[in-house]
Amino acid sequence: MLHFLRRRVTVAILVALTVLTLSFLLTRLSGDLAISIAGPNATQEDIELIRRAYGLDRPLWVQYFDWLWRALQGDFGDSYFFKTRVARLILERMPITMTLGLCGLAIALCVALPLGILAAVKENTWVDRSVLMVALIGQAMPSFWLGLTLMIVLGLNLGWLPISGTGSWEHYVMPSIVLSFSAIPALMRLTRSGMIEALASDYIRTARAKGLSRLSILVKHGFRNAAIPVVAIAAVQLGFMLGGSIVIETVFALHGVGYLAWESISKNDFPVVQAVVLVLALIYIGLTLLSDLLNAVLDPRLRSA
């Protein structure tokens, strides 16, 4: 277990360093930052001034290590547009994105797990096939399109929910539903295939031979084993959802980290973009590590390995 843990943590750190480097390089590759900051009407002198003021005249590797050193201390510099600390901006917006992600995940699990189990129990019947069809449609549907459709139906036509903004809990309902759709198909399919495998196993036959109740056979003995990969994927899906919230927060004008990223990209506020990419990636790495740990906790065979 300790060996397993050490290996996973090492990998996570290496991936994090790679992401740090990439997020630095990608913003530099997108063009001359001084020119884009200065705007279209700037003179050559203005650009030179900006280049010096922001330290962009230094060699790239100096900029990189300077940035890396500060980033490791949690200092992402100042936003060019908002004129505040980037770290503070992100911290302010994070609770909104987290709420959205967790609500989305909760909805996804509430839909995917029962449907997956149902499909497995009714394997190869019309129930199973309709569930799989729903999964397919869910996977094929672009989230911005679903978002707009929900806005029209629930917001405009029925008037049940606010269309956009960040005020009450009602503002989270539609974005959470849309976000959950990105996770439901994978979770459902994994639950279904895991359950089918579990239900065909010898230990389920034993559970039946012991005369256990149907609920105990399905949930305690079947789902407990099928859940191991599902829990792991759910953690990873949450990472995807936090990253994917860029589109959804923009569509619903929900002022979370995703919306911040979109604003900063359109305003060439590259310290913010860099930091948002980094923070989302680090969260994702953290969640992947968490999913490995959850796996080990749930599977006694891994625990003692």
């Binding site: 256990l212 065979r301 003692s304």
Partner: protein, 321 residues
């Protein structure tokens, strides 16, 4: 007083394939009845059909299927589940995979008692410790807290047996309980079953393909071939005077020291168990039988050929010796 388990004309089909074609047998209280035959002859399906554990698509029919005098043919899943694990228990061939990897031995053992008797946890644990000791497991307290993957195959099968005994069943169905185990462990498990039977008065239906096991533990033997019982007799009688060509063939496959000379070819039965199509009639063994005649394709007589000894064959006195 009726037998513990009475099966008459049990038939099981999967889609178009007949897996069990009308078998009849009884298991008395305190008796070990062995069901022997090659792989694919329907032994396991028979045992699963009795327990009501047939896989999806399996259909069961019987003229009589009674357990302790109760007709269990029309029992629904709920009533069957009340019997299973409580009054009739089963152990399987695959000790490595038959325990749930996610739960400790203790949790899996105690849940049987909690389900059927509502026994409080502490008492159920005491019972589990008692039975683990009974099946020869040392340090039972430690084992209760362990997961299946921490135990060897022999230990797991002992756990399975102990688990099957949690509620003091009247009938134990053991489907090849020792096949996956090495020979020394095999002997221990068989001795254990025999002891338990003597002490608890269990009726055992033991399914095996190993005639050595049959000779050691069975009171009565039914030989199965292609979904039918082709010969049934008390153990000593069967080994002394096998009447059906298939039984004789099976016995000739076993090397007996002193009887088979070094260098002599060991007996074998050519061919494999056929897949029986629906509407098949006559003897399922006729294509592999060296005594087959035209009459073998017609209806077969089930004849008494000795004391409590029946065979399903057209040869009136069985195979000439």
């Amino acid at each position: 007083m009726s037998a513990l388990l009475e099966i008459d004309d049990l038939r099981v089909t999967f889609g178009g394939t007949a897996a069990v074609r009308g078998i009849s047998l009884t298991v008395e209280k305190g008796e070990t009845h062995c069901l022997v035959g090659e792989s694919g002859c329907g032994k396991s399906v028979t045992s699963l059909a009795v327990m009501g554990l047939l896989a999806k698509g399996g259909k069961r029919e019987a003229a009589r299927l009674s357990f302790a005098g109760e007709d269990i043919r029309e029992y629904d899943e709920k009533r069957m589940s009340r019997l299973r694990g409580d009054r009739m228990a089963m152990i399987f061939q695959e000790p490595m995979t038959s325990l749930n990897p996610a739960y400790t031995v203790g949790s899996q053992m105690t849940e049987v008692l909690r389900r059927h008797r509502g026994t409080p946890r502490a008492q159920a644990v005491d019972r589990a410790v008692e039975l683990l000791t009974r099946v020869g497991i040392t340090a039972p307290g430690l084992r209760l807290g362990q997961f299946p993957h921490q135990l060897s195959g022999g230990l797991r099968q002992r756990v399975m047996i102990a688990m099957a005994l949690m509620c003091d069943p009247e009938l134990l169905i053991a489907d090849e309980p020792t096949t996956a185990l090495d020979v020394t462990v095999q002997a221990q498990i068989l001795r254990l079953l025999a002891e338990l039977q003597k002490d608890l008065g269990l009726g055992i239906l033991l399914i095996t393909h190993d005639l050595g096991i049959v000779a050691r533990v069975a009171d009565r033997v039914s030989v199965m071939y292609a979904g039918e019982v082709v010969e049934s007799a008390p153990t000593a009688e069967l080994f002394r005077a096998p009447r059906h060509p298939y039984t004789r063939g099976l016995l000739s496959c076993v090397p007996v020291p002193g009887k088979v000379k070094r260098g002599d070819p060991l007996g074998s039965i050519p061919g494999v168990v056929p897949r029986i199509p629906p509407g098949f009639s006559g003897c399922g063994f006729r294509d592999r039988c060296s005594f087959a005649e035209a009459a073998c394709a017609g209806p077969l007589p089930r004849r008494d050929v000795g004391p409590a000894h029946e065979a399903l064959c057209i040869l009136p006195e069985g195979v000439p010796a």
